[in-house]
Point group: C2
Chain length 223, copies 2
Amino acid sequence: MAKDMTLLWGSGSPPCWRIQIMLEEKQLQGYNQKLLSFEKKEHKSQEVLDMNPRGQLPAFKCGNHILNESYAACFFLENQYKSQGNKLIPDSPDAQALMYQRMFEAFTLSQKMVDAMYYNFKVPEEERHDSAVQRNKEALTAELKLWEGYLNKTDCCLAGKEFTLADALIFPIIAFMFHCGLSSERYPALAKYYTSLMDRPSIKATWPPYWKSTSGLDMLKTV
Amino acid sequence: MAKDMTLLWGSGSPPCWRIQIMLEEKQLQGYNQKLLSFEKKEHKSQEVLDMNPRGQLPAFKCGNHILNESYAACFFLENQYKSQGNKLIPDSPDAQALMYQRMFEAFTLSQKMVDAMYYNFKVPEEERHDSAVQRNKEALTAELKLWEGYLNKTDCCLAGKEFTLADALIFPIIAFMFHCGLSSERYPALAKYYTSLMDRPSIKATWPPYWKSTSGLDMLKTV
């Protein structure tokens, strides 16, 4: 079945990485894949647009099903391959409730990260304000403190001891932020989470190739 | 079990309404509930903060589980009460894939709606630009055209003939936009979707009380 799947992806993109982790977790190796370049604007190519009319990566096809939203792809794969590979939705209501709550809170985390990191990319020069930059940075700091508190209270993973769908979805964002200079000293629980999961086979096998050959960035150094 | 649930909510808030629809669909009437006023800033009250540290509505407790993210609450309820009330995750892979894809695309729709509608609320006066207002409006229009296209191709609901979790999650946003003046003439497929579902028992029973007594708004009249 994995031969019937195609993933067009970009290196280091958290949404792309989520699907790659998920495919490993569900033992669906051997899918068709193509690494595209954001810099060369290959995400706006006809090949991508044919699968994803928004012109974004990932573009993911599973049989005849188009699942470009990374959360959608991960939920679908978990549901279609329940008994294959690792089971990522726990049976225990406690773990399940926490898993769902965290995975959807992560939309706020992502949004605040994007607002803080891509301000110059998103806002035309004549509309930029230092006060907005400062506000976005403060909002991200407050959000990160919440997550630092969450991870201080759990064992290993976001919903307890077991790796769940919440980790497959959120680990790539956390890793991306450390790649962009997030401080391990100021966020020790986030750093512990990051280092404890980086050698998990599904994550190691899909580590963004460009991150191996380039040094980290410093956009989040002062957050 | 519904007696073990508490929902603090605000009238007309799509995230609150989602949980209310879901509780009806799963035959979980009789839960504890309290209607709070955004105008009076009751969502920042200690009662809310005790359940939802972000100071937002909904604040939802299901037994000991806190599920303030509306998507999280709906997923959890569907999973815990699979065989009670209506089954909202279809078995057919076709419908399931489409349901997941649409429900997560809706985050983009919500974001663009919020950017367009709450610009003055979110952006301090000295940072406002007419060019940004125009860009936000155009982005929402383009997004709505995508959804108009999606609904043109389906029978009744977002993932086909059956009402699914995608409808429970997305109907409140569409209804909110029509309440705010969205044009039925320019978006006939969205309007058809809206009117065909407004009398569904779960939706009718939870219709925002303030909408019954006040006339609609016109913030989206020109979109």
